[in-house]
């Protein structure tokens, strides 16, 4: 396999134009699309996450890197689908009912996508029933719930209750995050995990996917 280190570097640097050009070139030269993802794209986003966690990178750098990664994935995804390649897991993510804040949710979605997950972004102000439907209709394995406010946090508990009522709680893992959310709250409402940033959310999702 050809050395695509410049692709990895382009994503880490957030150079979307370069990342897309290198991906296009690699695919035209017959490089296996799955190996591009596992050997270059996921490690690149893992490195971005590492830099983010140690405050070398901040949200703007993370978003720009995610944009570069998405550009590459646009070229690769159709080929993965055609080849029947399975993602690590399918994640449904949304900001809970009553809450319109979307930055944290978008960051986690981007990082999960870069981490090899298929992401179903349900958007903001998402009712518990929509999360339930995502499990029933899209084969979702992990649900990510985001909330900005004390007053919207109870919707996380409501969503878990709705999954219980639908008999789906055993089939899906639930992870939560957001400004007022802490581990104790995650424990109180029976979530499977809590993360305080987008990078550690990927680690948590991998752990939960492996345990599923």
């Amino acid at each position: 396999m050809v050395d695509l280190s410049p692709l990895r570097d382009a994503i880490i640097d957030g150079n979307a134009k370069m990342a897309k050009a290198l991906t296009d070139q690699a695919l035209k030269e017959g490089t296996d699309p799955q190996s591009i993802v596992t050997t270059y794209l996921i490690p690149a986003m893992d490195e971005v996450g590492r830099r983010f966690e140690c405050n070398e990178y901040f949200v703007p750098e993370l978003l720009i890197a995610a944009r570069a990664m998405k550009g590459s994935m646009e070229l690769i995804r159709p080929l993965l689908v055609k080849g029947g390649v399975q993602p690590i897991a399918t994640v449904a993510i949304g900001t809970v009912k009553g809450d319109l804040h979307d930055i944290g949710k978008n960051l986690v979605a981007s990082m999960l996508e870069g981490g090899g997950f298929t992401v179903v972004d349900l958007g903001v102000d998402v009712a518990p029933e929509k999360f339930v439907a995502s499990v029933q209709e899209k084969g979702v394995n992990i649900i990510c719930l985001s909330a900005l406010l004390t007053t919207t946090m109870p919707a996380m508990k409501d969503t878990i209750a709705a999954l219980n009522s639908a008999g789906l709680r055993g089939k899906v893992k639930v992870m939560i995050g957001g400004a007022p959310v802490i581990q104790r709250y995650s424990d109180e409402i029976g979530a499977d995990g809590y993360s305080d940033n987008a990078s550690s959310a990927v680690q948590l999702a991998r752990k939960l996917a492996a345990a599923a």
Partner: protein, 352 residues
């Protein structure tokens, strides 16, 4: 703590005394007696404390309520329409920082109707100043700050892209916003009723600043430095209200920008006790009892925590919430904070 049927027992008996208390703290000294700090209170609470007087402007009612609760100051935002109008946003209990953007390039920046600060009517300042009780001062706050308003006009994710793709345009937009805000603070700072300025500009997420410290120093901080200088030139202290994790830039806030006080703390980021321990000797720590904690903790626990910090800070902390007092904060929990925060100052009991 005693548990009366309501913790609202009436206004504090001793009136405000900004110079000896909050003002002394902001000057680097100690408050002569326990004092308070807040950004804003919800309207039902204000009505409960101050009642309604026919024909009275809402900000005059607020000024009466702040004094009754025991503050040395009363917050006063711009009441003359000064703001940076963005596009429509869906509204619920929170908002999206990506919605409502109106500037995407140079053309839309030039077409934007930038506020003409000097053309605005400033008579509200005189009306507000006339409502102050002796010893009380106005805290002039802004319609959001430099970064908040740039995000509102551009959208956060688009701003991040522009910083990478067209940093000169970002600088241009920041300069337009910053110059309007500076003109506002230069206008209000010398007013005799204004005792301090608040520059209110949220900068942080839960684990770090919204932009990198390098980007903050390049785009945002130069305007904050000028705003603080405008306050100081008028002999007024300036406090920063900024939510989120500011740890990476607190040295800039204190030593570079020269803010006198810092407000807004969250238990999930830096609990106020930790903030006091880390920075309390260098800048006044204002408020900080976490709003989520305030909503979900027993009243007696709120009282105990507040009283403990009042005692430990010995005149170097002004009691208050970590952010503000929206309607969802239980009033009795907030009044427990106030009761402990004024440290047993006597109250004028209601006749009823």
């Amino acid at each position: 703590m005693s548990t009366p049927s309501s913790l609202w027992q009436g206004p504090v008996a001793d009136g405000p005394d900004f110079t000896r208390n909050l003002g002394a703290m902001l000057a680097g000294g100690r408050s002569a007696r326990p004092t308070l700090f807040e950004f804003y209170h919800n309207v039902p609470l204000i009505r409960r404390i101050a009642g309604d007087r026919p024909g009275e402007p809402d900000y005059v009612r607020e000024i009466r309520a702040w004094a009754a609760l025991g503050y040395d100051h009363a917050n006063l935002g711009a009441r003359n329409g000064f703001c940076f109008k963005a596009g429509d946003r869906h509204r619920d209990r929170s908002i999206s920082l990506n919605e409502g953007a109106v500037i995407s390039d140079r053309d839309s920046c030039e077409r934007y109707p930038w506020p003409q600060v000097e053309a605005l009517d400033w008579s509200y300042l005189d009306i507000a100043a006339a409502a102050l009780v002796p010893g009380q001062v106005l805290m002039a706050s802004g319609p959001g700050g430099v970064l908040e308003n740039v995000i509102s006009l551009v959208g956060f994710e688009r701003l991040c892209e522009l910083i990478s793709d067209d940093p000169d345009l970002v600088q241009h937009i920041v300069d337009r916003v910053g110059s309007c805000l500076l003109a506002y603070y230069q206008r209000v700072a010398p007013h005799p009723g204004v005792g301090l300025l608040m520059s209110n500009d949220d900068w942080g997420f839960k684990t770090q600043t919204m932009l990198s410290p390098r980007q903050m120093r390049r785009f945002v901080f130069p305007w904050h430095e000028r705003i603080v200088a405008a306050g100081h030139a008028a002999g007024k202290p300036v406090v920063l209200h900024s939510c989120g994790n500011l740890s990476p830039v607190m040295d800039d806030v204190i030593d570079g920008l020269k803010y006198n006080g810092k407000h807004s703390y969250e238990d999930g980021i830096t609990p106020v006790e930790e903030a006091f321990s880390r920075w309390g000797s260098r800048i006044a720590i204002l408020g900080g009892i976490d709003v989520d904690y305030l909503c979900r903790s027993p009243i007696a626990e709120v009282h105990r925590r507040t009283a403990a910090l009042v005692a430990a800070a010995d005149g170097r902390w002004a009691a208050g919430t970590g952010n503000s007092v929206p309607e969802w904060v239980p009033q009795e929990s907030f009044l427990a904070l106030i009761d402990a925060g004024v440290g047993g100052r006597p109250r004028v009991r209601h006749a009823a």
